[in-house]
Assembly symmetry: C2
């Protein structure tokens, strides 16, 4: 009999631990392959620490090739599954060639994605805390705000730069805000023009409590601790809309803030949504043994699966929570069930009772509720760290994280701000009515088109025969004078209504104009109407500044 081929899609807690458990179940008796978009396992509980710089991104992770010695690791993007032919199509490499992988058993562990589209302006303007990139980006973003606050002469700019907002008071939101407050507090002495009382750190939580899964006493401690360290916690308050400079809460308050971290909003991964699978609440409805009904040897676990903990769970909402603790247990049961199925034995339902929960609050404080024992403060924080370093898969990762923690006690937290995120060349920006988009004299580095709303352009120095002010509506554009090599704005642009614009940076605009003749001729005509010539030198340019 040929070895069964077992393919696992996704390398989160569910995927990694399934691969390891399958290897233990089958030894050399199966071909096991893990398909993953990234070549490393992200230890999610450490993301807030990465976001605050106490652990560097590379060391909060382990390469799958260290963790999975006899499992094939394929770095590729899943395109589709043919459940009848029992094949997965993936795209791999620079050329994105399609490759077909056949399976006898398929495990879907693709997690969920963040979806902020229900709140106007939130998707383009919020930071998220789902991936390692997100955490790295948050750290850079916070440091950048401190750098700017230290040198700006404009009070309203300073206020926005020094207001940090976290949306969601669950584990992710609370750990993120606690660590972020620690990073800021430890760094302030290096910013002589910023004082602590200029800083605001705010958590918005739509429910009436933070850390809803925790016992009341621990929640109360966490809230008091954070408030003592200057974190404002607003309960019963969600986010209604966001721009690049402000948010509006569901209570109607406006908050000037340049930092919005959204820890809310889950949705199925697009590739899962595209598969022909029964979704309930955006998750794959599996049977109690973690098999997907009627798809033949297909299984699912982790955040992408809706796992009934009892028969008839659908009616009572009695499902496994989407936590690492559960995913690891699910992985063991799933691997055992595949082994049983391979031996033509009956599978068994997944059963597990939570052993508790822990949260770090930053600044060496935490809360822990473990097997009935409740701890707060330094001890809870130490337990949190000890537990997670023990849980962290891979010996090198443990060594590195421990070293980081030790060195973090004896050295200042680094303020090096690497560019962790290149903003896309074309991006959407939301403005509220009255917001300034740019001012006469600002550096001209973008071209704007209006998608929704209207923009008022006014100049103190109108060209002869041109009006001092004009209004630009949907489909209209402004700021195109930068193609002439202007480095300064010759007019001020303000949102006349709530407005969405697309901004294109200069290099991208010039590349498009250079490569796509109708694009260029349209804007050339437009400049001609204004009595301006497209410059000879505005051609292809790779000049870097």
């Amino acid at each position: 009999m040929p070895k069964p081929r077992i393919v696992i899609l996704g390398g989160g807690f569910g995927g990694l631990y399934t691969a390891r458990a399958l290897r233990r179940e089958f030894g050399d008796g199966a071909e096991i392959e893990l398909v993953t978009a990234e070549n490393y396992f992200v230890f999610q509980p450490l993301l807030p620490e990465v976001g605050a710089g106490s652990v560097t991104p590379i060391h909060a992770t382990s390469p799958f090739r260290f963790l999975l010695k006899h499992v094939r690791v394929r770095k590729a993007i899943v395109d589709s599954v043919d459940f009848d032919a029992k094949t997965v199509t993936v795209f791999q490499g620079v050329q994105r060639r399609p490759t077909e992988i056949s399976y006898d058993h398929l495990v879907i562990a693709l997690g969920q994605v963040v979806d902020l589209s229900r709140t106007p302006g939130l998707a383009p303007h919020a930071l998220t805390m789902k991936s390692l990139e997100d955490a790295r980006r948050l750290r850079g973003h916070v440091i950048e705000r401190l750098e700017h606050a230290d040198i700006t002469n404009l009070p309203e700019v300073k206020r926005g730069a020094l207001t940090f907002t976290v949306i969601g008071g669950g584990f992710s939101g609370i750990e993120t805000v606690g660590e972020m407050a620690e990073l800021i507090d430890r760094s302030l002495k290096y910013y002589p023009n910023v004082s602590r009382d200029e800083i605001r750190i705010i958590v918005l939580e739509f429910a009436d409590k933070i850390l809803a899964e925790m016992p009341d006493t621990l929640r109360a401690y966490a809230q008091k601790q954070l408030e003592k360290r200057g974190v404002e916690i607003r309960l019963n308050t969600g986010i209604a809309s966001a721009t690049g400079t402000q948010i509006t809460t569901t209570a109607g308050d406006l908050i000037d803030t340049r930092t919005v971290v959204a820890t809310i909003g889950n949705a199925p991964a697009p590739v899962v949504a595209r598969m022909d699978l029964p979704l309930t609440q955006g998750r794959i409805a599996v049977a109690r043994d973690l098999s997907v009904p009627d798809r033949g040897n297909v299984w699912s676990l982790g955040d992408c699966a809706l796992i009934p903990m009892k028969d008839g769970a659908e009616a009572r909402g009695d499902f496994a929570p989407p936590t690492a603790q559960f995913a690891v247990r699910e992985a063991k049961q799933l691997a055992a069930n595949i082994a049983r199925a391979a031996r033509a034995e009956a599978t068994r339902p997944f059963a597990y009772t939570s052993k508790g929960a822990m949260a770090s609050l930053g600044a060496r404080r935490g809360v822990a509720d473990v097997m009935g024992v409740r701890l707060t403060g330094f001890l809870a924080w130490l337990l949190w760290r000890a537990y997670y370093v023990a849980f962290l898969p891979g010996f090198p990762a443990k060594v590195w994280v421990l070293s980081h923690w030790v060195l973090d006690w004896v050295t200042p937290r680094s303020l090096v701000n690497l560019k962790s995120h290149t903003p896309p060349a074309a991006r959407h920006i939301h403005y509220r009515a009255g917001d300034r988009i740019y001012e006469q004299g600002n550096r001209a580095d973008g071209f704007y088109t209006v998608i929704e709303g209207a923009v008022e352009i006014t100049t103190e120095t109108p060209q002869p025969g041109q009006p001092a002010s004009r209004r630009v509506g949907p489909g209209g554009h402004f700021g195109e004078r930068m193609v002439l090599g202007a480095t300064r704005r010759v007019a001020t642009a303000r949102a006349a209504e709530d407005t969405i614009v697309m901004v294109l940076d200069r290099e991208e605009f010039m590349k498009l104009a250079d490569a796509i003749p109708p694009f260029r001729s349209y804007f050339e005509d437009h400049l001609t109407e204004k009595g301006l010539d497209w410059p000879e030198t505005a051609g292809r340019s790779n000049a870097a500044e």
Copy 2:
């Protein structure tokens, strides 16, 4: 008398050490400000180690705020200098507002930039080793090639992925190739489908020797060491052209390679070129006391300055070499001369004799020529490390780098491949005649326009009434069917001549179509001609995969 205001532009070795030396010269008697595009000092000699992952990027650097306690640090981009009004205009913050800074003395220490534009195809397809981002990107790029080589079934793809090329056999090129070879050798055991003899590592050097500044015996040792470790060194050979998959050497050889690291090609920073300054050989021609003639209290040092070491140096080419060792000495002299000028004393010419040179070859081998003593092998390597850790400014950075080096001995080199670089949404790609651009069935994720040359599009499955093949010339486009949501290519595209295309990713194309009506209507008309409709659902999409 008011305190003199001294403004330093640029935070490389020249800028940082000038700021420190000025502080020592003046104490509280001057206002000193450093203007820098990044908030951290990059210790350039460690870049090859960052590129090979033995030191993480954050820890090869120090935040200026740690290094400069009584110096104002301004993270901003220099726009221009008005030498008459004695002001510098910078852009800072998200809004890019212009800010004017006045000075009594100005120090220009803006270094040089990489310019690869003289070699066709090199700029869009080569990696560089100038900045921390470059080094980080190289590490990710090398790991990505190993990941792909391990899973591809296509021999020609594997060959290109496993060929690594470094252009330039100076210090930067040799240290980079040595460290890269070490990273690859140490990592191979985790890639079961890649064997050592499939790997090629090549250095191209246009001169007849590597490490030209070193004594002959050390050069010979370095070359032998690298060759023993499988590095091919091609002397008297430069690069003639590059594409994404191949390079052509000046000897006419074609090399299939997906990795080209260019350590050649310097040019003045655009902001320096824009200033009204006397440039010689692309550098600011300063007097022997490091002052810029006829600009009034303007000084320059480091890579951006051409510093005569003797009177009449212009005739004999007797200038200070652009090395860290010299920049640090120049900084001391420059600061002393500003202090002398402030006291109305005569300034003194810069004079210094090199103390020697060292190079790491990776794998615990090096060469060193220090004050007449010549060392090779392990001892030279150890001396290299000891010297640089002593030289590394900032105590925390020393602690971290040492810790990294110790842990690197006891743990495997991490293979975590973080996305350090988001490719621009619109980018140029060079192809040689005959190169495949994409194949029928490939994932459709980009839209192409032809800038130079011609592309042949052929399909095995022509639409009724459409030809099986067409040729697209400059200004023409192909691959636009992806707007219809096609995920696979329906035709194969090949370069019919040497060709430059611009490729635009799908998300960017859809954003532009959504925001710029003439852009959309042009492509809508074009699809209509082909009998295809622009889809209702192809509107604004923020969906992330």
